[in-house]
Symmetry: none
Subunit: 250 residues, 2 copies
Amino acid sequence: VFDHINVVLIATTHSGNIGAAARAMKTMGLSRLTLVNPKTFPSEEATARASGAQDILENARVVTSLDQALFDSEVVFGASARLRNLSCPCIPPREYAEKIIHEHTGRNIALLFGRESSGLTNEELDRCHYLVNIQTTEDFYSLNIAAAVQVLSYELRSSFLYAQQHNIKDSNKLDITTESDEALASGKSMQHFYQSLESLMVEVEYLDPKNPRFLMRRLHNIFNRIRLTQSEINILLGILAAIKKYLSHK
Amino acid sequence: VFDHINVVLIATTHSGNIGAAARAMKTMGLSRLTLVNPKTFPSEEATARASGAQDILENARVVTSLDQALFDSEVVFGASARLRNLSCPCIPPREYAEKIIHEHTGRNIALLFGRESSGLTNEELDRCHYLVNIQTTEDFYSLNIAAAVQVLSYELRSSFLYAQQHNIKDSNKLDITTESDEALASGKSMQHFYQSLESLMVEVEYLDPKNPRFLMRRLHNIFNRIRLTQSEINILLGILAAIKKYLSHK
């Protein structure tokens, strides 16, 4: 789905970062990598760090100018860890992802990542339609380039999946609290459980039968919050039954 | 602002990943790192990859068990690149960030990251209240551990800034899950509870000590699903203690 997204790494000096970037891309379903004047490529270090994303390295285009890298790009996003005084709009990653998915659907996109030491030059920034600012803390903005690729790839996929889910499932919010298909414990089972627990507590003298209310309320509060399934309440009832049986045999 | 977030790396084998994780944390304002049985630490490789986040490495706690790592954790999130067949809620990163910021404001949080090769073990998963699923593509889920730390740190900071900008206050969001201000049960209390419950079940012959895993997993799933407060866990511990005392006197 992201074949039209071209990740462009400019003048990368550490080969390991190229491999790590390829791996980051692949986890999120990106595949198109362009290297502008990499210091060393291919390299063992890149292959090692790619860890299974070797195909992306093999298919990477290596070029000598940004013009070549952007030859078919319709919209260019530049990654920046710092806010810059520029007239080009500077947006957060979530907005960048939404722009790609909703506003520039199907267009050829380029994501530019600058040098490890100094980022993008002014000339490179001039090629960008948007700057994507991955907001770091003010006192430490040294975001690794492969980490930046990971964040922007992740945000793209995450927003894509989010959009997909909300188109397909509209208002049908997932209930992840309990296993989806299993029946929840019935009111009857829950009452059985509370009565069983109460009588056990009375038997072991933890609960004063003359004044059970407060404790039982706390316990209702706990177990109602869980929304137990039927098989779970059966386990708890089984435990209580086993304790009682054991007490009666002793 | 994220001093209460404890990043826990379990049995990391590649030293470079520890450094890269520290760097990823620092860019996003996280500072608290705990290493459970790292293969090598400290190391030159970690320091090199930390690239300015050396202070996080210097202040890292190195421990030999997950119990030590989670001793003060109130809510535990486990990172997972794959969806798993578990009833512990599996949520996307954005929801995880919102939970930390709005639902569990100020609570001690642990983020668990498993081994490079095999992730989190079942026992480690049992300690999690939530699994955070960074959704990769289906055919390549090999997310680097430092990249995962970067994504979850980024999402936390991103959601925090978003909430700040939109002036979303904690109290505006409904919190029906826990009582408002009360401390949650610590990891230590929860372990005490599970151990106590397990030994009781063995004593009354409900649980076969030779094969306790499945049942204990179900029970973890039940009680981890809600965030018990400290006073609630005290009630449950009190019930177990009363039963045991009664059994021993009989």
